[in-house]
């Protein structure tokens, strides 16, 4: 048997529409996207002003950004990171260590977090991209494990298992702390909007074409002179930086980070969950997936009377049934419905 398990990894889940069709719908889509984002941004003002609900919105925004970062890598270059928390956690820890030990503004830490995570991505890539497929997945998984052990053992730097608890500066915007959670939520939304824009622009650029060519037919891409390793490495670093930035926001929103919430298995699975529930290969899939994921988790907590175990049981079962019924995710369902409408309309014309 051949050990090249990459050959059948990452087949295109959704065939993109033809370029002409895409460009025709672009202005309407962009307007829709901006509208949706504005509505999301204003939610705390009219719909959910209370602290708890803003906390939920905050979680959705964080997981949307996190899911987008995983999806950029998996959905467009076919590299499945099982241990995406390696990058998320690296960003969270860079941020926390920086602001804890220097006392400087976390605004600076944000940039460092993205860079730090990108460096982790680079190191992983240099080893992992010699191979692909499962090996890549397992190497990211192992990296998350190793970083978790490091965060646990380097007590002087990371606080060990107890984690780092960041000092409170309530209402000090310079220290990225506010009287309510709303400003941080809006900041996170801006980041998510940035990720959407970035992904969208990337897909329309030559680089996006390279991404897909590497995913769909590495052999042909190689033959036509594409630097496959370079493209994969670039995508990995970008995705890692995105995850790292969101990880830093996560740490700042909690003012706390510990090895388990940064690098734990659950955190890695969360990225996969959000991206796949939404539907692979679609721009907004991870955002939708994040909303469904966080809400399911909260519903689970509510109906199970606050028992975390039954909450996991609940949302895992819902997702599993959903996956077996609708493997293309929420966006896939939407596409099928609208696709059907459009076809019917076509017939009538």
């Amino acid at each position: 048997m051949s050990t090249d398990i990459s050959r059948d990894a990452g087949t295109a889940p959704v065939t993109p529409p033809s370029p002409a069709a895409r460009s025709r719908r672009t202005p309407a889509k962009a307007a829709g996207a901006v509208l949706v984002l504005l509505i999301c941004a204003s939610l705390p003002l009219w719909a959910f002003p209370d602290d708890y609900s803003v906390g939920i919105l905050m979680q959705i925004a964080i997981y949307a950004g996190y899911g987008l970062s995983w999806h950029l890598l998996a959905g467009y270059t076919g590299q499945y990171a099982f241990g995406h928390a390696a990058f998320f956690g690296a960003g969270a820890y860079v941020m926390a260590i920086f602001s804890y030990h220097t006392g400087l503004s976390p605004w600076l830490g944000l940039g460092l977090a993205a860079i730090g995570a990108a460096v982790v991505g680079l190191l992983v890539g240099l080893i992992a991209l010699r191979v692909s497929g499962l090996f890549f997945g397992l190497i990211t998984f192992g990296t998350a494990l190793m970083l978790g052990v490091a965060a646990n053992q380097l007590v002087g730097l990371t606080g060990g298992a107890a984690g780092l608890s960041l000092p409170l500066h309530l209402g000090d915007a310079g220290m990225m702390q506010f009287d309510t959670q709303v400003p941080l939520y809006e900041i996170t939304l801006v980041i998510v909007a940035g990720y959407l824009l970035l992904t969208w622009a990337l897909l329309r650029s030559r680089l996006g074409l390279l991404f897909r060519s590497v995913r769909d037919d590495p052999v042909a891409a190689d033959a036509s002179g594409v630097n496959i390793r370079g493209v994969r490495l670039g995508a990995l670093c970008l995705s890692a930086a995105m995850a790292g930035l969101i990880g830093a926001i996560y740490a700042q929103s909690l003012l706390f980070i510990d090895p388990e919430s940064a690098f734990g298995l659950t955190q890695s699975v969360n990225a996969i969950f959000t991206a796949i529930i939404g539907g692979m290969g679609s721009l907004f899939g991870p955002v939708l997936g994040a909303a469904v994921f966080v809400l399911l988790r909260e519903v689970g907590m509510t109906i199970s009377d606050g028992d975390g175990v039954y909450s996991v049981l609940f949302y895992s079962t819902v997702v599993f049934v959903f996956i077996m019924v609708a493997p293309k995710g929420l966006v896939g369902i939407g596409r099928r419905l609208f696709g059907l409408v459009r076809r019917d309309a076509g017939k009538r014309e």
Binding site: I127, G142, L145, I276, S316, P327
Partner: protein, 288 residues
């Protein structure tokens, strides 16, 4: 000197069982090309079965093993027909999330039923002395059982028609189908065999290793690493991979720190990947 000997022997003794469930994982992955994230949970469930059968109903631990094999083989067949056979045709990300959620369901369900507490049998502390070296009685028995199972599996795969079909499918599914091999039947048998081995491994493991509902994730990672260290696609490689990882774990725990066990497993994995990307026995142990 005794400490070193004890450490190495213990690694080998535990490694036999690691090897068995790693082979089960390799069988399923080799044929279906699906990473079965529930494999570790199957082992965990078999451990619970063994625990309750022995501690509550007074069964002999030996008697549990064949029962677990039959039971989990059947459960495997049911899982294959209802879930995995369908997943085979789906894209990778769907396979991934389906088996991950299934694993989460099994783990959380078990936690809900039995709680998070670790349970262990009294056999865990039975030890004997041999020339100043202390060894667990049931660890020695466990290695014996593992070798027997590995031998039986080898016979099945090399001497029977279905075994040859499975090996052909592991080698190259398309070619096997072209040669008129009933790949669906081969898949079904291979998947059930994998589950059966998980059952056997779990029922054996519980005699010297405590069980918690979340132990499955640890075991899955070990099986995964064992397969890639040994060489993807090589069943003997997976068995040897399991042995090696267990020895690495024991040596690390004794001479470094138990907290670094899995970190060293991963370092070994990285090292082998850089030196020999096909895995240690990727070529050497090719079954043909």
């Amino acid at each position: 000197m005794n400490l070193l000997l004890e450490t190495l022997l213990n690694g080998l003794l535990i490694g036999g069982v690691y090897g068995i469930f790693s082979v089960g994982f390799a069988l399923q992955f080799g044929t279906l090309r699906i990473i079965n994230f529930t494999h570790g949970d199957f082992v965990m469930l078999a451990m619970f079965l063994g625990f309750f059968a022995v501690s509550q109903y007074g069964w002999n631990p030996f008697a549990v093993i064949p029962v677990a094999m039959v039971l989990f083989g059947l459960v495997g067949a049911v899982f294959f027909t209802t879930v995995f056979n369908r997943l085979k045709e789906e894209p990778h990300e769907i396979q991934l999330i389906a088996t991950i959620t299934l694993s989460a369901i099994i783990t959380a369900g078990t936690q809900g039923l039995f709680g998070q507490d670790a349970r262990s049998l009294d056999t865990i502390t039975e030890i004997f002395q041999l020339g100043g070296v202390h060894l667990g009685v049931w660890k020695v028995i466990g290695l014996g059982i593992s070798l027997l199972l590995a031998g039986g599996l080898w016979l099945l795969l090399t001497r029977s028609g279905i075994g040859r079909d499975i090996r052909a499918s592991v080698d190259d599914a398309v070619a096997a189908r072209l040669q008129g091999i009933n790949t669906r039947r081969a898949y079904l048998v291979a998947f059930s065999l994998g589950a059966l081995l998980a059952g056997a491994a779990g029922a054996t493991l519980i005699t010297f290793y405590p069980v918690t509902p979340s132990v499955g994730a640890n075991l899955l990672v070990l099986a995964f690493a064992a397969v890639l260290v040994g060489g993807a696609g090589s069943l003997p490689g997976a068995f040897l991979g399991g042995l090696i990882l267990a020895v690495v774990q024991q040596v690390t725990a004794t001479y470094q720190s138990p907290a670094l066990q899995n970190a060293y497993v991963f370092l070994l994995f990285l090292f082998i990947l850089v030196v020999k990307p096909a895995g240690l026995f990727g070529r050497l142990a090719r079954v043909d």
